[in-house]
């Protein structure tokens, strides 16, 4: 048993559209997650977060195609395996996935216990239904879910409960890695907290060894995961610990993302909310150079045609940019000073001005 639970090396996957165009939604992504750690993936809609999650399972079906790279779960390489074999031997036991629309994932005509039977019987057809029921009861009790829910239909459960039941079903076989793709986006704050608490409990109790959490809500990631990785146009642009990423982002795009955080705390109202201008590039023909150059306020002319490699600049921190870390930090410091000077020169701003900057 190694300590690296999931290792991905140069994974590239593509979508083939109905006009036979290739769209590289995941482009040379490498990442590593150690036992007991969680990784958050942030980024705009359409940046490839969900595609990365699907690709990590090794279960490909058109229009998604595997191109190159390795996915190693706890020392076992699953890339390039036959999809049917992946379904029987990898999904559920090695890696499990909670989809974005988990609320609608349950067939309304079946009882919850039936779904659990399906999952277990797909892996081991010899288990008796009584054993499965007992296992399910124990697991539900362990996770703090009402055992009665097993004999109910999906429509009888509330949204938050449905989501937690889906999580319990997908982790019934104790997968090593759990991928949660926006598990709480459709829920209100209280149910969201319950879902997060359950995921954290599962990590603490060792029911799952590692977790990948995908969302575009940064305050949530900051509170849930150990590390945060920012994706842009199919590539990783920065990775670091949650704290470093929120308070000291280096890549201009991560900084743009962190500037869009809104939390109900003192001081939020006096901070500028900055929108990143423009839209992400079309991945059918991505730009030759840095993919963010078009929208980057610090972009230099050479950024547009120089390929950007991903650079390690501190322990556990990587970024993808042509400008050096020191230079970027200096730029940010100047910008913050300018903003602070502007804020203090505003008249009558004592009771918290609402200020928005557009198109910087």
């Amino acid at each position: 048993m190694s300590d690296v639970m999931l290792e991905v090396k140069n994974l590239t996957t593509k979508y083939v559209t109905r006009f036979h165009e290739d769209v590289y939604a995941v482009d040379h992504v490498s990442l590593k997650i150690e036992r007991g750690k969680s990784l958050g993936i942030a980024g705009e809609s359409g940046c490839g977060k969900s595609t990365l999650a699907l690709s990590l399972m090794g279960y490909y079906f058109p229009p998604l195609h595997y191109m190159s790279g390795d996915i190693i779960i706890d020392g076992k390489n699953i890339s390039g395996m036959d999809p049917d074999k992946v379904r029987r031997t990898v999904l559920g036991t090695e890696i499990a996935y909670i989809p974005q629309a988990a609320m609608n994932a349950l067939n309304p005509t079946r009882k919850i216990r039936k779904f659990i039977e399906d999952v277990i019987l797909a892996h081991d057809p010899k288990v008796s239904k009584k054993d499965i029921y007992e296992l399910a009861q124990n697991r539900f009790a362990e996770l703090g879910l009402p055992v009665e829910a097993l004999d109910k239909h999906a429509v009888e459960l509330s949204g938050g409960m449905k989501q937690r039941v889906v999580i319990a079903i997908s982790t019934i076989l104790r997968p090593k890695v759990l991928i949660a793709d926006e598990p709480s986006s459709a829920l209100d704050v209280t149910s969201q907290k319950m879902v997060i608490k359950m995921l954290r409990d599962m990590m603490d109790k060792g029911m799952i060894q590692a977790m990948i959490f995908i969302t575009h809500e940064l305050p949530l990631l900051y509170n849930v995961t150990d590390d945060i990785m920012v994706m842009y146009a199919g590539q990783i642009v920065e990775r670091g610990s949650a704290k470093e990423m929120v308070f000291d982002p280096v890549h201009p795009y991560s900084r743009g993302l962190m500037n869009s955080i809104l939390v109900p705390e003192e001081g939020t109202r006096s901070v500028k909310l900055t929108a990143i201008p423009g839209t992400p590039p079309n991945l059918k023909n991505p730009p030759a150079g840095c993919r963010f150059a078009e929208r980057c306020r610090y972009a230099k002319p050479e950024c547009r045609y120089n390929q950007m490699p991903i650079i390690d600049f501190a322990p556990g921190r990587t970024y993808r940019c042509g400008t050096s870390v020191e230079e970027l930090r200096e730029l940010y410091r100047k910008e913050d000073e300018m903003n602070a000077a502007e804020a203090s020169s505003d008249t009558g701003a004592a009771d918290g001005p609402v200020r928005l900057t557009k198109g910087v």
């Binding site: 907290k193 949530l220 743009g256 500037n259 900055t274 505003d346 198109g359 910087v360």
Partner: protein, 279 residues
Amino acid sequence: MSETTSTRRDFSKAPSCLKGVGVTRYFHTGKITTKAVDHVDFDFHEGELVSIVGESGSGKTTLSKMLLGLLKETDGQIYYQGKPRDISSRAKLKEYWSGIQAIFQDPFSSFNTFNKIDTVLLDCINMRGGKNLPKEKKNEMMTEACSFVNLKFAELTNKYPFELSGGQMQRLMIARIFLLKPKILLADEPTSMIDACSRATILDMLLQLRDEIGMTVIFITHDIGLAYYISDSIYIMEHGKFVESGGADEVILHPQAPYTKRLISDVPKIHEVWDLSTV
């Protein structure tokens, strides 16, 4: 670089724009009565940005539908610009709608799929009484509205709404509001289906628009951070009742009602510890 600044103002002396006394809506299913909105009182002033915050099922959307005149209230009275609201006939309702407009949560289902974008915008011009304007003038107005929300009318003309992305559609909704210039804008979770980065753009446009035409904005949301950031006053709704209301700073930083306290503690934060044990 364009910048909109709007300091939080005191609206208590501004004329009342929309006022409700004992507004109630019950839904009956067989013998069960659901009190979706239960005797709520409110007073929204001209030019104010009000947020109504609550969890799913708290009655936010029912209230917004009543404000729009899409649902009849079971009890209570809504006052529009100081006078009791009269929407008894179709003509009066249309007249009322020229003063109140809405942006809904789901941009994908906000448009008629069979109408081109030109039609959508032309309808707005016609509704404002510009039916007999020359074609060039209409085109000019549509171009102006589109450029206000960073869209290019030349690229949109002859397209259908489903050819746009979610963010673009939501901006097109705001372009409509720009053309209609209503007195009240009711925004029902306009940013919940859009990611955090585009959210800032949409909010920016709404605030600019409010400053430009001085309208009242009623923001319905469950995102407390967002409500705190943009609004002048906040109403907290629980099970069809307002449990707390007041200035944004007051309600969010010094909440009184236990429900408000719980709601705020449930939001993940950056500078404070998020206590997971209180679920």
